[in-house]
């Protein structure tokens, strides 16, 4: 093992973060202080957290040991014992998330495959690189906090052991992610080669399923965090045979002074981590080299052009071609498939939450009204916002094709806007039908829900497209953003304001439904509210559509930017 090689590879990965952060690399000179900011910022937060924890604990224990609690040392050791498992879960989530975000990367750094680097060095560098960023920052922050608190309470040895085990566990999590990454390459490679058009659908559905399962898991772990910790201590001991728990058990036994058991779990932990590392090496050796596979979509033979149906809806050939191209992009490019995830998660999570609320015996009338509104409005509204923002930047470096073609600003805006509205409306239909079936609104409420959300989609789509034109990010970095961060944030705020404006006419009706209409002198029907919403939406849509055409013309003229 040449450790210098590992270090060099790690440096390359760390420096690629410049591109991810959107740093302009022309004549770039790295500022070491700023380059490592997540780690020192985490350390500072950890130190402050440790001091604060010490202050609070000292206050609680100032009158002796409170009833229901054990001594400071015993309570701290319980937390220490669960820390490795928490770090394992968090590191797994962060490293997997990082890999998902890099899913669009076509040919990862293949350069290392022809350099004199061994698979052991490459795998180790890759595992460590997975940890860079949030996972290391998290462990650094926790470690700083634990060390400071423990030093002030005379538990420094136990703290140091905990810190050591937390880093080992983070490495364990990253090894698992590395192994999963390679397995994914192997599986998707097999799928690509297996068939033609079906491969695209398998990839689309597979990616969606992966994201959904991941986010549901993430949602459950984060939403039930406190009960998760409480149950962890007992669960850990009961599940001693699960290898992922072994480092936590080692720590637990070491703190209790049961050194024979600690030595046993130390040996088991070392063996397991080494096993994971060698598994990742073996997988890398066998499947790690990425070869772009050939997907055959059409069979060879005489080419027969298809007559599109979009022409019948008033779209020119140019506009129809652009829409069709974007449609293919959003079903074939993995990094774009992730755009669907937020709306789908926004359907699933309120559904699960509402089941919980209803099961807990909460008042169902207003609760279901709120959940229904969320399921109608949020997924489609978010879809319109996300699509509008990324539809220009997603062209990436191939934007030259748009610049070099006889496409007018009007063509571009019409095709892109239609695409936003089409996809958002599909999401609205799905979420609306689910909402209607699940919450049984009246016919009038359901129709109003569909119309209001459609009006929202029209307005947000138009506004978001302006954001997409204003702040496109055409750079194809490791993690393509497609819209500059500051504009993404502005887009979120403006979309929220536009959404509030379009839905504002419904507010009196919602208030009346909560307080009851008895005694109210307001005569205001749902139909009237929808008409007022329609006027607001049409005005916003029209104004921003005009702005979009001007901006598109400007973009096409200043093609170099």
């Amino acid at each position: 093992m040449n450790w210098k090689n590992v270090l060099y590879l790690l440096q390359v990965d760390r420096k690629s973060g410049r591109l991810i952060r959107g740093i302009k690399a022309t004549r770039y000179k790295e500022n070491t202080f700023l380059a490592y900011w997540p780690y020192w910022a985490a350390a500072i937060i950890g130190v402050v957290g440790g001091l604060l924890a010490n202050f609070i604990v000292a206050a609680i224990y100032s009158q002796g040991v409170p009833s229901g609690l054990q001594s400071i040392g015993q309570e701290t050791f319980i937390l220490f014992a669960v820390a490795p498992t928490l770090v394992l879960v968090a590191s797994l989530i962060f490293t997997l998330l990082q890999q998902i975000q890099l899913a669009g990367l076509k040919a990862s750094s293949q350069v290392m495959y022809w350099l004199p680097v061994t698979w052991q060095e490459h795998t180790l560098a890759s595992i460590l690189a997975n940890l860079l960023g949030w996972p290391v920052a998290l462990v650094t922050g926790l470690s700083a906090g634990i060390i400071v608190f423990s030093a002030l309470n005379g538990m420094i040895l136990q703290a140091l052991l905990t810190v050591l085990i937390m880093f080992a566990v983070a490495f364990m999590a990253s090894s698992i992610t590395e192994a999963l990454r390679i397995i994914q390459i192997r599986l998707t490679g097999a799928i690509y080669k297996s068939s033609g058009r079906g491969a695209i659908w398998i990839r689309l559905v597979g990616t969606l399923l992966f994201f959904i399962i991941f986010y549901i898991f993430y949602f459950y772990v984060t939403s039930g965090f406190s009960s998760f910790i409480n149950n962890l201590t007992t669960a850990q001991t009961a599940a001693w045979y699960v290898p992922f728990i072994w480092p936590a058990l080692l720590l637990s036994y070491a703190i209790k002074g049961l050194f024979l058991q600690a030595a046993l779990f130390l040996a088991l932990s070392v063996l397991f981590i080494a096993g994971l590392y060698y598994l990742a090496i073996a997988l890398n050796k066998r499947f790690g080299l990425y070869e772009p596979p050939a997907i055959t979509v059409q069979k060879s033979g005489l080419y027969v052009p298809k007559v599109g149906i979009l022409g019948r809806f008033g779209f020119s050939t140019v506009e129809a071609a652009l829409i069709l191209k974007d449609l293919r992009a959003f079903t074939r490019r993995r990094e774009l498939i992730s755009v669907y995830i937020a709306p789908i998660v926004m359907i699933i999570i309120p559904l699960f939450n509402s089941i919980g609320v209803i099961n807990n015996g909460a008042p169902t009338g207003q609760a279901t009204l709120i959940f229904m509104a969320i399921i109608f409005v949020l997924p489609a509204g978010f879809m319109a916002m996300l699509l509008g923002q990324v539809l220009i930047g997603e062209e990436g470096q191939v934007i030259w094709r748009i610049y070099a073609s006889p496409i007018s600003g009007k063509n571009l805006v019409k095709s892109k806007y239609f695409f936003v509205v089409l996809f958002s409306t599909i999401i609205l239909l799905i979420s609306g039908i689910i909402g209607t079936l699940f919450y049984h609104p009246t016919v009038a409420e359901a129709i109003a829900g569909f119309i209001e959300t459609f009006l929202l989609v029209l307005a947000i789509g138009s506004v978001s497209l302006t954001v997409g034109f204003k702040g496109p990010d055409f750079s194809q970095t490791r993690r393509a953003r497609m819209v500059r961060q500051e504009w993404s944030l502005i887009g979120l705020i403006v979309s929220a304001l536009v959404g509030a404006a379009v839905l504002a006419p419904l507010v009196p009706i919602v208030i009346l439904s909560f307080i009851g209409s008895a005694g109210s002198t307001i005569s205001y029907s749902l139909g009237e509210a929808v008409i007022v919403s329609a006027i607001i939406s049409v005005v916003i849509t029209g104004v921003f559509y005009r702005i979009n055409i001007d901006m598109a013309n400007d973009l096409l003229k200043k093609a170099e930017t």
């Binding site: 076509k106 033609g196 772009p292 596979p293 050939a294 997907i295 055959t296 979509v297 059409q298 069979k299 060879s300 005489l302 080419y303 027969v304 052009p305 007559v307 050939t317 140019v318 129809a320 071609a321 652009l322 069709l324 191209k325 293919r328 992009a329 074939r332 490019r333 470096q397 191939v398 030259w400 094709r401 610049y403 070099a404 073609s405 006889p406 496409i407 007018s408 096409l556 003229k557 200043k558 093609a559 170099e560």
Partner: protein, 257 residues
């Protein structure tokens, strides 16, 4: 749209902050001419081609293509121009045929002609059998072929080709060269930038050698020889002499030391 010149650049300058990419360039290229733009890396060839298509607005000066002002009528100009960029960055998520279909629709090629032309070009450049594969699996040469077909597909009056024969196999390169000659007979103007001097010498009617954003020498091979005072030399020697890089022996000696 009638003009005696296919392309006219008048006092064109392009600056990127302090860098002058093209410096006060004036150039006319006649209809049906095959014009070669040569020059070392960074001499302004690609920027000039991009300005001709309106991809890069000039800092000063005017650019007229096929009698149209590129800045005022960009869409009309693009309608009649076929462009091949240096790097074949194309939509990788489309198949070859889907990409060509997209391009034909963008340029408004009638459906019946589209079918015939695409089939002919695919056959000529030996892409038959791979046209249904996604472009992300294509080699550089195959991508270049797709880029070339997409430039020819709508029967443009002007071709702007940036390193058009890079990565092509000898058979395809020969077909493209012969095809450019046959297009010339139909009045199609071609402006190509290349580093392969043999190609420029073989197929270009006139050659412009660019250096630091300006045209250093302009004319046919005889005129260039005359300008360089090298009556029996090939284009390579003329190019090296005019761009002041002819004394390469010392460089090679330094490398082999």
């Amino acid at each position: 749209m009638s003009s005696q010149y296919a392309v006219e650049l008048k006092d064109v300058t392009k600056r990127y902050n302090e860098i002058v990419a093209v410096n006060n360039l004036s150039l006319t290229i006649g209809t049906g001419e095959i014009f070669g733009l040569l020059g070392p890396n960074g001499s302004g060839k690609s920027t000039t081609l991009k300005m001709l298509l309106g991809l890069v607005p000039p800092t000063s000066g005017s650019v007229t293509v096929l009698g149209l002002d590129v800045q005022k009528q960009p869409v009309e100009v693009k309608q009649h121009v076929g462009y091949v960029p240096e790097s074949a960055n194309i939509y990788e998520f489309l198949t070859g045929i889907e990409y060509l279909d997209f391009i034909a629709d963008i340029y408004g090629v009638p459906t019946a002609e589209k079918q015939q032309r695409i089939t002919e070009y695919l056959k000529a450049l030996q892409l038959e059998g791979r046209e249904g594969d996604m472009i992300n699996s294509y080699s550089d040469g195959m991508r270049k072929k797709i880029s070339l077909i997409s430039a020819f597909l709508h029967r443009p009056k002007l071709l702007l080709l940036d390193e058009p024969l890079n990565a092509l196999d000898p058979r395809s390169a020969r077909i493209v060269k012969d095809y450019l000659h046959s297009l010339k007979a139909q009045g199609v103007t071609t402006i190509m930038s290349t580093h392969v001097l043999e190609i420029a010498e073989a197929i270009c009617d006139r050659i412009g050698i660019m250096y630091q954003g300006s045209i250093l020498a302009l004319g046919n091979m005889d005129e260039l020889r005359q300008k360089a005072s090298m009556p029996r030399s090939g284009l390579e020697d003329i190019f090296l002499k005019l761009t002041g890089t002819e004394d390469l022996r010392a460089v090679v000696e330094e490398l082999t030391r």
